[in-house]
Symmetry: D2
Subunit: 137 residues, 4 copies
């Protein structure tokens, strides 16, 4: 049982990923929701959110859900990430990524992520990935 | 048979991805190599390249290899990308991503990408992905 | 809107995959649930279901959900499948695989699959994959 | 440094996967090649090799390459597998799967697999996957 809160996690992520513009919105048992603000830096010509922006949001949602379970351990690292791009995201809406952990074991955590243009019903992308959890000393 | 050159492709990518700092280094039959410059914006505390930077480099290498085959079509889009993170990249070396297309069909192209910290022998990541190619009018 | 029923789909699958022991259990909008009976042929020493058995069940659940949407088209083919193995399945329970389609477009369908040992709450595996849908004549 | 030979590995796999018809053909540093015989049980109507047959071959090639590095440890398990289906395999040729390990660490091994219809130049599928290696006692 950890005592990670949305505030403590946002503070931690701000130090671990100083460039990120993402914020954790909510944390629950085995799940987390994050928001990736969308501005000119995240858009491609034609008015859509870039693929790497969605990948970054998926990775961060997974990381947030893992840290919510294991505590604020800086050494957890992604070992793989798989993403399916489903629909063109809206250019003028933030990306909301919600991760559900399917397993949070002693050494590996695996989660499923759905990504949305805020307020839209159909997901813009689906991702799944694995985090390696460092052994406790 | 297309007439895409490294220069024409870099010009095209600069317009399609105005934020990217990547450059195509070489193009060959069914393959492409790109360079992602690494600076403070791509690093995490502790001195390693961020996962989203590697994902962006993998996606661009795949896109470059596809455009080298089909010509400069803005409408080709990634449908999926899978990445395995293998080793901690060096903080002071550019990322070099080399894509080999395994198939470039009428509607789908699939490729394999190896990513390196420049000058290192062991890859830092491996990716594979699919691009959907728009039908010719 | 198609008129595919559980019975017509099971009849179709029995002809398309004569070796399969899987049966479709239910079909709904953008989703399908299948059962893979587990017997000696699906087990490994130590008493667990083999990985290829889970992969086959995931693929079939995805196929069933796609056919439920597009009709009984023999030419839809898997283009990729990604699977995470989460927990050791029970040796004496069937595998139940439930697919939710995330998108069923004109040319590609993408779905998410959760696999369970029947009656257990925690999934034994998660898969996602893409089917290519042949163009209508 | 292990002393795994093709013969000792085939003997081990015959006990670990009594149903498999696959055989290891060759083992080298960080790589292995296996053969999956193709007969009526592996075919679908229309004369192509089933997807699950290719997935099983990819998984076994990865397992063989891992065991060649770490020795004949029965407890190594697949944690994920991603496969891209590229071309229709020939119905009358065995499947040859060649795995190159990209990393064989203390706890995780990751490899890339190319699958061929024997004697054909273009691969029929590409896979990548992760094995979890049990800690030494």
């Amino acid at each position: 049982m950890t005592t990670v809160t949305v505030d403590s996690l946002n503070h931690f992520l701000g130090e671990a990923f100083p460039q990120t513009r993402c914020r954790v919105e909510s944390l629950d048992t085995m799940s987390a929701t994050i928001r990736h603000p969308i501005g000119p830096a995240e858009l491609r010509p034609g008015g859509t959110v870039s693929g790497p922006t969605l990948m970054a949001a998926a990775d961060l949602a997974l990381y947030a859900a893992v840290l919510g379970e294991i505590g604020l351990q800086p050494l957890a690292v992604t070992t793989n990430l798989n993403i399916h791009f489903l629909r063109k995201p809206a250019a003028d809406r933030d990306i909301i990524a919600r991760c559900e952990l399917l397993k949070c074991g002693r050494t590996l955590a695996i989660g499923n992520v759905l990504l949305y243009s805020e307020g839209m019903e159909a997901p813009v992308a689906q991702a799944s990935g694995t985090y390696a959890i460092p052994p406790k000393r």
